[in-house]
Symmetry: C2
Subunit: 212 residues, 2 copies
Amino acid sequence: MAPGGRRPGRQGTRAVILEAARASFAEDGYEQVSLRGIARRAGVDPALVHHYFDGKPALFVEVLQLGRDPRGIVEEIAADGSPGHGARLVRAFLEQWERAGGEDRNAPFVNLVQAVAASTDAADGLREFLTERVWSVAHGGDDSAVGQLRRALVSAQLFGVAWDRYLLRLEPFASASIDEVAAWVGPGVEAAMAATLPESGRPRPDPQPEPG
Amino acid sequence: MAPGGRRPGRQGTRAVILEAARASFAEDGYEQVSLRGIARRAGVDPALVHHYFDGKPALFVEVLQLGRDPRGIVEEIAADGSPGHGARLVRAFLEQWERAGGEDRNAPFVNLVQAVAASTDAADGLREFLTERVWSVAHGGDDSAVGQLRRALVSAQLFGVAWDRYLLRLEPFASASIDEVAAWVGPGVEAAMAATLPESGRPRPDPQPEPG
């Protein structure tokens, strides 16, 4: 039963479940959340949660898409080449996490990491989300070898900074302002966006057996 | 009771508990491990585990020190400046994880991440371990602002690459050889080791009130 006793329509029910899931993941962390608990919070029958969503990992990924609109990040990635775009991307990335955190700035990223470390399904979901919703938009789906390398290098930098700041709480990243961190990390991100495949990094041809 | 019924001495008991803990964390992951289970595996009374170790996070950190001798990494960091030192550091870092993994290459890093995301005590332990056992050796304890910044930038790169490879399983990092990843990431690590504080990254002086 929805709050106030109104019967939501199909889209309404799905949205109510998503909102309950978002709040549950944010407050309790991935591991503690059950589909039954989400149903209770949403005021719907647990069967409806199973009807709309294919399990906890799928619901988690849906919540990622709801809660963290990546357009700001996408715009920064697409702004490739203009001065300071690396720092702007770092700032957009960190702001996404801290805006979602409210009083506990670290919680959203810590919850994501818990989910991804606990479940390969959640890790697959995050990877697909990044690939299909973020990078494909920013680069028009450039899937060349060098395009993939640049994405992986940028991903490593951004998640590495979040790891230092929110999880390891390593100084100076832990206490600095977002602008300071962006100024420190921006140049490395710009280098990653412009990376090329080194000689030794190219796929090596299979050794050719001598004929005869 | 120790295997074979021998009564180990004090050092022996501690070592038997540590080995049981190492195996338990590696096989089951941080969350699933209990001190009682470790005691059972070690064949000792649970009170002895509490006698030697101050709780699960402390034991986890001890296991990190036992299982991952950081000297190889430290030597690479200390080789600062020689050609290719960034790539060598990346290689040493990844080899530590994969050597510990045996059949499941990803498991040691995933287990570490689970632990750090589940427990701020484990995160504190890892940070102190890195600070006291690794960086203090590599840099003779250089704790200047720029030294701290370089450590944080290098940490972000290394953990970011491990995140991409072992957790997110993002290509091309997931399937490439260690040498390939090292060649790709090495230049960024070298840049991080040589980073300087940008103007905007320096601590700002407090605003000075006008006298009078």
